[in-house]
């Protein structure tokens, strides 16, 4: 019914319920998974796995719940540019503090209260 007059007054894309259901199911499973992998010590990989799962979950929300998959490209460009700036900000701040933070010097550690 929505697809019939998609060209004139109909605005926006109607997402089928099964698709929404599939997305929420995937989100739930991923949430369980991200808690589950925390139980294993994988060294510095842990944070990357956690963030990777978060990125997948975020992408699901953005693409389907927020309709970006069907939306005008400019809206996606807006989102991506804001994310690029976030990375830029974090990147430079980390680069700077890593270069002056004492405990980044190999073998050095911050003092610990007895």
């Amino acid at each position: 019914m929505a697809t019939e007059h998609n060209h004139h007054d109909q605005v926006g894309h109607v997402v089928p319920v099964p698709l929404l259901g599939g997305v929420i199911a995937a989100l739930m499973i991923l949430t369980w998974l991200t808690v589950f992998v925390t139980k294993f010590d994988l060294g510095s990989l842990n944070i990357f796995i956690a963030l990777g799962i978060a990125v997948i979950k975020g992408a699901l929300v953005v693409l389907f719940f927020m309709h970006l998959r069907w939306d005008a490209p400019i809206n996606g460009i807006v989102l991506i540019s804001s994310l690029l700036l976030v990375f830029l900000f974090i990147g430079f701040a980390l680069m700077d503090s890593a270069a002056y933070a004492p405990d980044q010097i190999p073998g050095y550690a911050p003092r610990i209260n007895p």
Binding site: M1, A2, D9, V11, G12, V14, V15, V17, L20, G21, V23, I24, L27, T31, W32, T34, V35, D41, L42, S44, N46, I47, A50, L51, A54, K57, G58, V61, V62, F64, F65, M66, H67, A72, N75, V78, L79, S82, L85, V86, F89, I90, A93, L94, S97, A98, A101, P102, D103, Q104, I105, P106, G107, Y108, A109, P110, R111, I112, N113, P114
Partner: protein, 276 residues
């Protein structure tokens, strides 16, 4: 402005400076996405603070995150995800003109918001009781004053409390991130004097973690509140049948806002609760 231009076959919702509904809708959408970009960058500052302190002081984050309750955090994540799902479905209902379904779904979404804030309240209260706060308010010793009957079941009992009680076993499983104690510039320990890591000793400046925790979750909580007020507003209007296939922009935009709140939580949860 909107209503007086209903002549010439213009729908009532079409403002006079737009040519047609499509143009108006896509303009509103772009405006909303730009607004969401500003929200992301507002939170970016906190993520930067988080990244800088976590990379410089991983020991603080590893030590302090045991005070957070992963189970409650996980449940809250699910609650928020579910409310996002009902919201997305609600947008569909509005697009198809299913008024009753829309009202039901918006009410469920609102309920999800209340559930999230309720659980958050329980968590905050536990922190407050134990003095696990920011800056100079960080005073975990006050924990001892409360070791009585008034402790909640949800409280963070597995958390390390004080050195003399001994550390929970889990703290000994942290060999990968914390660098070994050694000599170094000011603020680090001279050789031989430092305590070996992994004995549950409390690092300096643990309050930094709680400062960041409260800032991030607090700002997010404010956004949840704002989102709930918006949902309440469109819920009232949808009861009156304001939205249908021709005009559902407010539902769509509020939905986008709510999903963004969800999106930010998706990142906050692993960063704050699931540190390893």
């Amino acid at each position: 402005m909107t209503d007086s231009h209903g002549s010439e076959g213009h729908p009532a919702h079409l403002q006079h400076h737009f040519d047609n509904s499509r143009q108006q809708f896509s303009a509103s959408k772009l405006g909303m996405w730009l607004f969401l970009a500003t929200e992301i960058l507002l939170f970016a500052g906190l993520f930067v603070a988080y990244a800088v302190y976590r990379s410089n002081h991983p020991e603080i984050f590893i030590y302090a995150h045991y005070f957070l309750d992963t189970k409650l955090g996980g449940i809250n994540t699910m609650v928020l995800l579910l409310s996002s799902f009902t919201m997305a479905w609600g947008v569909r209902a509005a697009q198809l003109g299913q008024r009753k379904l829309l009202v039901a779904l918006l009410s469920l979404t609102l309920l999800g918001g209340f559930g999230f804030l309720g659980i958050k309240y329980v968590e905050y209260e536990a922190k407050w009781k134990h003095g696990l706060l920011w800056g100079t308010n960080y005073n975990p010793e006050s924990h001892d004053d409360h070791t009585g009957a008034d402790e909640h079941a949800e409280e963070v009992e597995e958390a390390p409390t004080a050195p003399e009680t001994g550390a929970p076993d889990r703290l000994n499983l942290e060999p990968t991130v914390v660098p070994p104690s050694a000599t170094g510039p000011a603020g680090t320990v001279p050789p031989g004097e430092g305590l070996p890591h992994g004995q549950g000793a409390e690092p300096d400046n643990v309050h930094i973690f709680f400062g960041i925790y409260f800032l991030m979750t607090g700002l997010h909580g404010i956004h949840v509140l704002v989102g709930m007020s918006l949902i309440f507003w469109i819920l009232l209007k949808s009861i009156g049948g304001a939205y249908g296939p021709k005009y559902f922009t407010p539902v769509d935009l509020v939905g986008l806002y709510w999903h963004l709140v969800d999106l930010i939580w998706i990142f906050l949860f692993p960063l704050l609760y699931l540190i390893h």
